[in-house]
Amino acid sequence: MFERFTDRARTVVKRALDEARAEGRHPVGTEHLLLGVLADPDALATRLLAESGVGADDLRARIRRHTGNGGLAEADAAALREIGIDLAAIVARIEESFGPDALREAAPPPRRRWGRRPHLGGPFSPRSKKALELSLREAIRLRHRHIGTEHILLGLLREGGGLGALVLTEAGVDLADLRRRVEEALRTAA
């Protein structure tokens, strides 16, 4: 599916793979794609995000907050706190015995297996795969022949549900507004 990707968009995907690899053996998530885009300082997407006051370091810290609780989200930690369970203490105890990130890397096996295991879905998470497919659809919709870094961002925004979109929202970005601005910038550039 990457035939139409520009060299820079390919680099974004490659960086996303590196980001995911650096974290362990996780599939590439939407947050990794987002970080991949932001690693390109000259990308239109990066410029527009910078205009919204969003930088890679800030997003990285936000992502870490969601994945730092042994792979459970902050919302899960809060819910456990409500019933008197200190997730941080459990994570600390597990890491003490089984090494750093032991709990985070212990991704539960997928529930449904149709005979293919254990690498169900390849290197991309279902959401990031969807975002990449949507980047192609966005390019077609805008009548662009190639998929650039900005189309990847549009795909991420259109998918709208992954950790990438979540940290953007938390950073104060209005996703619909950002999408409009990307499209506008693309029209001006064309």
């Binding site: 459970l72 819910a79 456990l80 019933i83 369970i85 997730l87 597990i94 090494g99 709990l103 212990a106």
Partner: protein, 77 residues
């Protein structure tokens, strides 16, 4: 209300949203803990039968759920 009493109230909350969310979080934590502990048991040479007995499930169930993973995660880079 002090923070402590607020927490205590939440622990026994009758709001299903609060309670069910806690159950979901607990299940996610449980799933991860199970992976860590099953892998640990396998590393220490436990059989599927022994693990199944400890977890009080059938050998087939535990095998089906966990046998697809390498027994020693972190060593297959």
């Amino acid at each position: 209300m002090s923070q402590a009493t607020e927490l205590a109230a939440a622990a026994g909350s009758t709001d299903p949203k609060v309670g069910l969310r806690a159950v979901l979080a607990l299940r996610r934590l449980l799933e991860r803990l199970e992976v860590v502990q099953v892998d640990n048991a396998r590393r220490q040479g436990w059989s599927w039968q022994e693990i199944a007995e400890a977890l009080e499930v059938s050998r087939q169930a535990v095998h089906k759920k966990h046998a697809g993973r390498p027994a020693v995660p972190g060593s297959w880079e």
